[in-house]
């Protein structure tokens, strides 16, 4: 318990200090660009509790979730196929490398031309950008399944869906999760960016619109909210990862120490 408190204190001291410093340093600010933190907090309350939640926050989250889930499904499914099927992987690697080399921000015009300014453009952009880290990590993870595990599967005739869902995907899951983690950050980034390029709602749109209309405290409040959303999303992800990969930590501890625990 004491240890836990110590850890929490160690984790909290810097954020708390930063907020306190920001609060006092900005307290007497008269600059319209750096409003006092107190003012930002007031605006934050007025705006986000819960005035514009329906209007901006929820649409953003919805696009984010749709895009990310789409990327997960496609990334894992295609990555699995390419990881298992060497000739196809060889045939597609140049195209994949080319597509993932294009900064997604540069593709925004193409997405707008093809899909307009609506949700489908934003969701597609999020999905496209976060697809590649998942794809590449899944391919690597699937290729890295140990030969002992594959031999075991063959010797005991574990085939078809059992082989994929009980052996290959779990074995690749630590690497897949590494890809998901990167993809999550990319998805948040592209979510905010895509909303800034067009449309009429969303956090990105709100921040840019507030800036354009000189409502600077509102702009800051949007940025703070975006940070909080990112933080919360990451936290959820880490909890899911820890639960799904709980075997992995135990197994690594064993193989590294070279023996069992009991």
């Amino acid at each position: 318990m004491k240890r836990r408190l110590a850890i929490v204190a160690l984790e909290l001291w810097l954020p708390v200090t930063l907020v306190v410093v920001w609060w006092y340093v900005s307290a007497d600010s008269t600059s319209p660009f750096y409003p006092p933190l107190e003012r930002i907090v007031e605006v934050f309350e007025d705006t986000w509790v819960f005035e514009r939640v329906d209007e901006d926050l929820l649409p953003s989250l919805s696009r984010f979730v749709q895009g990310f889930v789409l990327a997960c499904v496609c990334g894992v499914a295609i990555g699995l196929a390419l990881g298992l099927w060497t000739p196809v992987r060889r045939a597609l690697t140049p195209v994949i490398d080319f597509m993932r080399s294009i900064p997604v921000t540069a593709l925004v015009s193409a997405f707008i031309v093809l899909l307009g300014f609506g949700d489908s453009m934003k969701v597609s952009m999020i999905a496209f950008a976060s697809f590649f880290p998942i794809l590449l990590n899944t391919i690597d993870g699937v290729r890295g399944v140990s030969s002992e595990q594959l031999d075991m599967a063959r010797a005991y005739k574990v085939r078809g869906p059992d082989r994929i869902f009980r052996i290959i995907l779990p074995a690749a899951s630590p690497q897949i999760f590494a890809g998901l983690r990167v993809a999550l950050a990319v998805a948040l980034l592209v979510m905010a960016f895509s909303e800034m390029t067009g449309g009429t709602n969303g956090l990105g749109f709100f921040i840019l619109f507030a800036q354009d209309t000189y409502r600077i405290p509102e702009m800051w409040s949007g940025i703070v909210l975006l940070g909080l959303v990112g933080y919360a999303v990451n936290l959820c992800f880490v909890l899911v990862e820890r639960w799904v990969l709980r075997w992995h930590r135990g197994w690594r501890a064993m193989t590294e120490s070279g023996g069992g625990v009991v």
Binding site: E148, Q149, A155, P170, V262
Partner: protein, 258 residues
């Protein structure tokens, strides 16, 4: 009585691992395979289990050529930390091979419970393999093989990485399982004492490219005992003989590149 027969002859290829192996495995016996290190014991076992295709000659199980993993065969690997799946519980690992056998779930669980009891792991059904010691993990691997209900059990240096005491216990477990279930056992090892203690016959292999050096019958009484059996003059004699065979193999060869 079933007659298990395997005939080997393998050649060609860039590295000639196994030149010509011809021997039979009698139904119900324990056959140990020993040889100098790097002599292709694992290659041989992979051919027997259908994981590798021989480049010449053939391996037959009950008269049928082995061209893929046979149903009647179960395998215990050397490296339990990889061959057991760490994301599954002990029971999950044992029932996994049974999924393809299309039996009711109750039957699967019953087979798994029986096998785990037979290896002394009742009470560890819901543990994960990495929570167990190395010896216990290898017991899980043996239970997985038993639940599969094979007629032939192949073991590839299964006890190479456990300590001496655990190893003796596991050797007795193999003998116990063999006596109780009447399974034919082919046991690959580099430990001469272990091979004599377990075997009805020992196949001594030559250096690469591998051929059969000699087949040594082991006429020690069963049941065997770690102390009494190993104290028999016949045991010492056999050990000397097998040791000489392997040593002559090592001497007669130009030093193998490391």
């Amino acid at each position: 009585m079933r007659q298990l027969a395997k005939t080997y002859g393998e050649g060609e290829g860039a590295v000639e691992a196994i030149r010509d192996l011809t021997f039979d495995v009698e139904s119900g016996e324990v056959l140990c395979i020993v040889g100098p290190s790097g002599c292709g014991k694992t290659t041989l076992l992979k051919c027997l289990s259908g994981l590798l295709r021989p480049s010449g000659g053939s391996a037959r199980l009950e008269g049928k050529p082995i061209d893929g993993p046979p149903d009647a065969l179960a395998l215990v690997f050397q490296d339990y930390s990889h061959s057991l799946l760490p994301w599954m519980t002990v029971r999950g690992n044992v029932t996994l091979p049974l999924l393809a056998k299309r039996m009711p779930k109750a039957k699967r669980l019953q087979l798994a419970a029986d096998a785990l009891n037979a290896v002394g792991l009742d009470g560890f059904f819901h543990a994960h393999p990495w929570q167990l010691s190395g010896g216990m993990q290898q017991r899980v691997a043996i239970a997985r093989a038993l639940a599969y209900q094979p007629r032939l059990l192949l073991m590839d240096e299964p006890f190479a990485s456990v300590d001496a005491q655990t190893r003796a216990d596991l050797e007795d477990l193999v003998l116990d399982v063999h006596a109780r279930f009447g399974i034919t056992v082919v046991f690959v090892t580099h430990d001469i004492d272990e091979s004599i203690y377990l075997a009805d016959r020992i196949v001594v292999l030559t250096h690469r490219p591998t051929t059969v050096k000699e087949i040594v019958p082991v006429r020690l009484p069963r049941p065997r005992d770690q102390v009494a059996t190993k104290a028999l003059p016949a045991f010492t004699e056999l050990r000397g003989h097998v040791f000489q065979l392997i040593k002559s193999e090592r001497m007669g060869q130009t030093p193998a590149p490391v």
